[in-house]
């Protein structure tokens, strides 16, 4: 989450009283990845997870890596 001060102020201004934490996000991350894989919109289907992922670099990295894992598994399985 290395950001400049204006990014930090933007992030602070968007703080919500009720946010999902990393654990709650992790619980839903596999479903979230499959929603993306199906080409559906996770912002509509899992909006709180979507917003957590916009705030949290670690969870965002885990989603990116999970999507890459699913894709790599499918590709290598086909070959």
């Amino acid at each position: 989450m290395q950001i400049n001060v204006s990014g930090l102020m933007g992030m602070i201004s968007q703080t919500e009283d009720d946010e999902l934490d990393c654990g709650q996000t992790y619980e839903l991350l596999d479903q979230y990845a499959e929603i993306m894989e199906r080409g559906e919109d996770p912002q509509i289907l899992l909006p709180k997870v979507y917003r957590h992922l916009n705030r949290c670099k670690d969870c965002h990295e885990e989603l990116t890596a999970l999507l890459a894992a699913i894709q790599s598994d499918h590709e290598k399985n086909r070959n």
Binding site: V5, M9, I12, Q14, A33, P47, D58, A69, Q71
Partner: protein, 225 residues
């Protein structure tokens, strides 16, 4: 490799004997295929160590998977759930290694990137001065509003870019507790921004207005030497 649906995975992994051994061997192969894709921006893969590193991660992930079979609710494919666990194990370990030499400091102590000054951009002087003023204001309100622990954590996370995973370990806490600490800090700072009429707060009404993450998502081939 046998194609299995979720129920068959659970049944095979729970059953004694050969069925379980075969299922475990298949799952190991699947997780290895996944990790080679998942870690391509994290670790150099053209080394002998890469495979042994992945095998260590997968071994640890399999233990967690077997221990938590009852927690799998079937809301995704079993293999996606298993990839999720293996990715978490791998990234946690890699982050810990990446940030092992980082030491926590308070807000006013120099950090790796606490200044917004960009040398060599005189045409952006006005922007730089405003950025510096915002940074000074932010440091002041952080000192006034936040506990020392919150200041340290926010500086490390926001300005130095340390991963929450690595930071929580350095603070001797969990990632969830760290998230709560930083969430409380953001709420206090937001209140102060509202009180002082900072323009940025006008954006607050729409939580989805910021569609791009405020942090840089790295796609560079960062490698673990």
């Amino acid at each position: 490799m046998t194609e299995r649906d979720n129920a068959t995975w659970l049944q095979d992994l729970r059953s004694p004997g050969k069925c379980r051994t075969t299922a475990l061997a298949d799952l190991r192969k699947i997780l290895l295929r996944g990790l080679t894709g998942a870690l391509k921006n994290w670790v150099r893969q053209d080394t002998r160590e890469f495979l042994s590193l992945c095998e260590d991660f997968i071994q640890e992930a399999l233990l967690i998977i077997l221990k938590h079979l009852d927690d799998f609710q079937g809301l995704s494919r079993f293999t996606t759930w298993a990839h999720k666990i293996s990715v978490r194990v791998a990234l946690s370990e890699l982050r810990r290694a990446r940030w092992k030499d980082y030491s926590l400091t308070a807000t006013d102590e120099p950090g790796q990137s606490s200044s917004v000054h960009e040398p060599g951009s005189p045409d952006r002087e006005q922007e730089r001065v405003e950025g510096q003023m915002m940074l000074d204001w932010m440091k002041k309100v952080m000192r006034e509003e936040l506990t020392t622990r919150q200041q340290r954590a926010l500086k490390a996370a926001a300005f130095d870019g340390i991963s929450a995973d690595a930071l929580s370990k350095k603070l001797g806490t969990t990632r969830n507790a760290l998230y709560k600490l930083l969430h409380d800090a953001r709420l206090k700072l937001k209140k102060r921004m509202l009180k002082e009429g900072f323009m940025k707060v006008q954006e607050e009404s729409d939580p989805d207005s910021e569609r791009k993450p405020p942090f840089e998502v790295s796609n560079k081939g960062e490698s673990r030497e």
